[in-house]
């Protein structure tokens, strides 16, 4: 188990796995938590209450405020798991107090979309 804890905490939820990187500012509706970018593989799906699993964040650093807004609007993911920590996602999860970990490639690939997982970002474990 090799998880790097970026923002600690514990969360339980259904894994929502994205193939594409996330652009929070452009691609996510901060009022509903739905992905509104038609080109994104999660188009039309809601991030609310999910454990969001995606490679890394892209786009404007202002996207961090979008993550904060998702939380304020009660439609944020419970937690996020990435392959690479970008500063926008790290800052946004920190502002919003959403647990965030970076997983090894092997561990990342073992997470199946739609399964229920328990993320312990205090001790660095996915159960």
């Amino acid at each position: 188990m090799t998880l790097k804890i970026i923002v600690k905490g514990k969360a339980e939820g259904i894994a929502l796995v994205a193939k594409n990187p996330m652009n929070f500012l452009g691609a996510v509706d901060k009022k509903t938590g739905k992905v509104r970018d038609e080109k994104h593989d999660l188009f039309g799906k809601s991030l609310a209450e999910k454990i969001l699993v995606f490679p890394f964040g892209v786009g404007s650093s202002v996207g961090a405020y979008t993550i904060y807004s998702l939380k304020s609007n009660k439609c944020a993911p419970q937690a996020m798991i990435c392959l690479k920590a970008d500063l926008t996602t790290a800052s946004g999860c920190a502002l919003a107090n959403i647990p965030l970990v970076v997983a090894s490639k092997e561990e990342y690939n073992s997470i199946k979309d739609g399964t229920k997982i328990l993320l312990d970002a205090e001790n660095g474990k996915i159960l």
């Binding site: 790097k4 804890i5 970026i6 923002v7 901060k30 650093s61 202002v62 961090a64 405020y65 979008t66 904060y68 807004s69 304020s72 920590a85 970008d86 500063l87 926008t88 790290a90 800052s91 999860c93 920190a94 502002l95 107090n97 965030l100 970076v102």
Partner: protein, 384 residues
Amino acid sequence: MDLTKDEEAALEGEQGESLALAYRVLVAIGEATDADRLLPVEWAHLSGINYNTIGDAGEEFLSRLSKDAKFKIKTTLNPMGFDFDTVSKYNLDDEFIKKQSSIKNSYEKMGAIPSFSCIPYEIFDLPKNGTNVSFAESNAAIYVNSISKLKTNKEGAFSALASALTGKSPFSDLRKDETRDPNLTIRMKVNKKDELAFGLLGYYAGKVAGSSVSISGVKDLDKRSCKSLCAGMGTSGTCGMFTFGDAKGETVDFDKKEMQTIHDELNTADSGDIITLGSPQLGLDEISNLAGMLKGRTFKKRCLVFCPRAIQEQARKFGYAKEIERAGGELLYDCCICLTPLIDKKNVDSVITNSVKGAYYLHTSNGVDVNLKNLSQIVEEETK
């Protein structure tokens, strides 16, 4: 990352949610950039002031944060979208003015100095060599790292904000001496050494360099060219400082052909509807120099000149403002070229500027075409 007992307690919320939030940001960024601890910093310079850059989400966040948060160290601010003294002249929509006003109030409530300037290094006294600061404005971070011998990373809006609230920053990247040591040298091979050439050199350097770069073949860089170099570099990449001379490691040439390629990329028009000067904002010597160049001349089109409020006051005192205004220029303060709502594609198709940074943002954010040429050429061609 190793935290002290006090830092750990603040992270756990023992000193309130605002400080917990600030420490969460520092720890998250620190973990993401492999820092092993936090360091004290003496001064934070914040970006994310202009409503155009942070939007509703940013405005709401700052409004909530400012209910109880207070800045712990000297905190200065980047430009906003316009200045409140002359905004009524510019026909902006009320919503923008209301949101910008809320952002301004939130920062001031938390204790920021209302500098609204991207050149804090020209309007404030600087701490002694080697002092750690946290500067989010890229041209300013590069300038103070390279010229003023302070230490900062090229901070983002959130890391600098967290530094302002805590007085700390992760010990990573350019805060470490070994990272400050450049491993690439760029040889300046262009004979024409005006501020535009240095802006383009900076833009090139930002693209090819890592954290730090050395520049050789450059002597006696004046302030205008130096600021242009910093701003160009900050626009195109992650490079956060430069030194002069030859460094160990690889060497590349910046020649006429390379310069032309970048110029062609950023120059999208043969002329423009208006002229803008001041990205970075102009300092007093640049304003005085401009006033001198404009003697006996009048602009053929509108010319917006951006500088800090403090510089504008001095420019008035010394008569430079009067000379620039006589020539048809408008002196604006508290804002700058980048992302100002005063330049909008609804009213303007193309803009003339000598700023590489200005050209990039005018094109990508304001959506207008840009005619990029040096100041002498602007005065020569656009005045009578």
